[in-house]
Amino acid sequence: MNNMFMSSSATEIGELLQQSYDHWLHTNARWWEVINYDPKPATGCSPKELLWSKNKSKLYHYQASTPRRFRTPLLLIYALINKPYVLDLMPGFSLIEYLVNEGFDVYMLDWGEFEWEDRDLTFADLVYDYIAPSARRVARNAYSEEITIIGYCQGGTMSTMYAALFDRPILRNLVYLAAPIDFEGAGTYDVWLKAPGYDPDRIADMMELVPKEFIDWGTRMLNPLNNYWGTYTRLWKTIEEDKPINFWKVLNKWTKDNVNFPGGIYRDWIRDFYQGNKLIKNQIVLRGRRVQLQRIRANLLALVGQKDHIALPHQTAAALTYLGGNDKTYQEFPVGHGGLVLGATARDNIFPVLCSWLADHSDPWENDDSNGHNGHR
C-alpha cells in the first residue's frame, strides 16, 4: 500500500481509499480475534520423559531419533521467572530441539509453579535439594562422570552457586545465557531496588508467596509502554503487513505465563544479590558453606545480548574475572534478553555458536555396549 496516491484519478483514489479502509477493517477484526479468541499455541513440543520429580519440579530427559554424538550430558537450568518452555518454544525455534538434533544428551530442570507451601524456600534449598540431585541423576542416567550445565538468566546464577559447592559429578562446562553474576550497575533495577523505601524483608514477610502479578509487573515496567501496549500494536502491524503471527502468539503466551516467587528466595535475591552484590564478594553462604567463585574450574562460555536490559552485558562478563578455570569464552550478540533463545537470530547465529563450543568441549560418543547404550536415546 503506497503512502501517497500519486497523480491518480478521483475514481482510482476512491477505489484505493476503499481498499485501504477494507484492509484496515480486516486488520482490526483479525487483531481483535487473535487477542481474544485464538487458542493458545502449543509449546514445549520436543519429546521427553520424566526422569525425576520432587515437589513441583521435574527433571526431563529429551528423546531423540538421531544418533548421539557426544557423551557429556547437558543439564539446562532455567530461572524462576516465567516458564522454561522458552527453551523449547516451538519446532524450528527451540534451543532444546537444536541441541538434541546436534547429538547432545539433553536434560532440563523445570521448577514448576510454586505455591503457598513453598513460600519459605531459599536458594540453599534449590541448590542442595533440587539442582544437586538433578545433576547426580543426569550423570548417572548418562553413564558419565562429567556434565555440562547451561544456566539461563537467574538459572545461571543458581548454577554458579551449585558449581562452587559441589565437586561430583564433575562440572566440565558451565554455559551462561544472559546470567547475571555481578549485580553492581544493574540498570533500572539498580535504581528501583536500592531506593531507600524498598525493603525486600518487608515484602517477603507480608506477601510470603510473592504473587506472579507482582513479578510480572516488575519485569514489564522496565519498558512499560513497549511491554504493556507495544506488544499488541506489534501484532497489529504484523497482521497489517500480512506476516505470520504464530511466533507472536507463542511469545505472548510465554511472557504472560508467570509463576509465583517464594518469599524466602525473593528476599535472598534482592537483599544478597542486587543490594549486597554478595556473589562476587564470596559472601554467599548456603547451609554453612561459602560460595567461592574461584573454586569453579569448569570451562566457561558466556553468551550475552548487547540490548539486554534485564541482565546487562557487564553483569555476565564479570564471570570472566571472578570464576576460576582457564578456558573462558565470552560473546555478545545484537539481541535483547530473550533474543538469546528466541527468534531467527538465536536459531541462525547463536545456537550454532553454542553447539560448536559445546562440541569442542564435550567427549565424543563411542558406541560401548558395556554401558547398555547403543547411541540412540
Binding site: 475514481t11 519498558n223 501496549w229
Partner: protein, 187 residues
C-alpha cells in the same frame, strides 16, 4: 474532473490510513522512550515504593484480620493445607535420600565386587604362574635325575668292564642273602 477517467487532472493526496499508521507508531516510539526514561528516575522509584508500602500495610491488616477469623472457624486454612504439603515434600526428601543412599551403596557394592574380581583374577593368574614354576622345577629335577641315572649306568658299565678285564676274581665280600619262605597266598 476533466478528460478520460479524470486522469488528465491528477490528485496528489496522502493515503490517510498509512499516514495515521506512521504518525501513530512514531508517537508510540517517542512515548515509549519517554516512559522508559521516566521509570528510570529515583522519583519514580520513590513514588512506587510509597504505593507499595501502603499496599503492604493494607495486606498486613488484611492478613491479621483473616487469620483471626479463620482461627475461629472449623475450616482448614491454607496454612493447614501448606503444612500437609510440606509433610509430603519432607517425605519425598526422605525417599530421595534413601534412593541416593541405596544407589551409593549399590555403586559401592559394585565397585567392591569389581575390585574382588580383579584381585581374584590376579590371584588366579599368580597361581597359574606358580604352578608353571613348580612344573618347571619338577621337569628340571627329573632331567637331573635322568642324567644322574645315566651317569650311574655309565659308571656301572665302566665298573663291569674294569672288573671283567681283571686277572683274579674278586672274592665275595658280602654274605649271600638268606633264603626266605614266601607264604602262600590264601585262596
Amino acid at each position: 474532473m476533466n478528460g478520460e477517467n479524470g486522469k488528465s487532472q491528477g490528485f496528489n493526496i496522502p493515503n490517510p490510513y498509512k499516514m495515521w499508521e506512521n504518525i501513530y507508531f512514531s508517537a508510540e516510539d517517542s512515548m515509549g522512550t519517554l516512559m522508559k526514561k521516566m521509570v528510570e528516575t529515583k522519583d519514580f522509584a520513590n513514588g512506587i515504593d510509597l504505593i507499595l508500602n501502603s499496599y503492604l500495610q493494607y495486606l498486613k491488616f488484611q492478613n491479621e484480620m483473616a487469620s483471626v477469623y479463620i482461627e475461629n472457624t472449623p475450616l482448614s486454612s491454607k496454612q493447614d493445607t501448606a503444612r500437609l504439603a510440606r509433610l509430603l515434600v519432607a517425605l519425598e526428601n526422605k525417599f530421595d535420600r534413601l534412593e541416593d543412599d541405596f544407589t551409593n551403596e549399590l555403586s559401592a557394592i559394585k565397585q567392591q565386587s569389581n575390585d574382588m574380581l580383579e584381585q581374584l583374577s590376579e590371584f588366579q593368574q599368580g597361581k597359574a604362574e606358580h604352578q608353571n614354576d613348580i612344573s618347571r622345577q619338577i621337569s628340571k629335577t627329573l632331567d637331573d635325575l635322568r642324567s644322574l641315572i645315566t651317569k650311574v649306568d655309565q659308571m656301572e658299565d665302566h665298573l663291569k668292564h674294569v672288573l671283567g678285564s681283571s686277572p683274579e676274581p674278586v672274592q665275595e665280600a658280602v654274605p649271600a642273602p638268606k633264603k626266605t619262605r614266601v607264604p602262600k597266598a590264601k585262596s
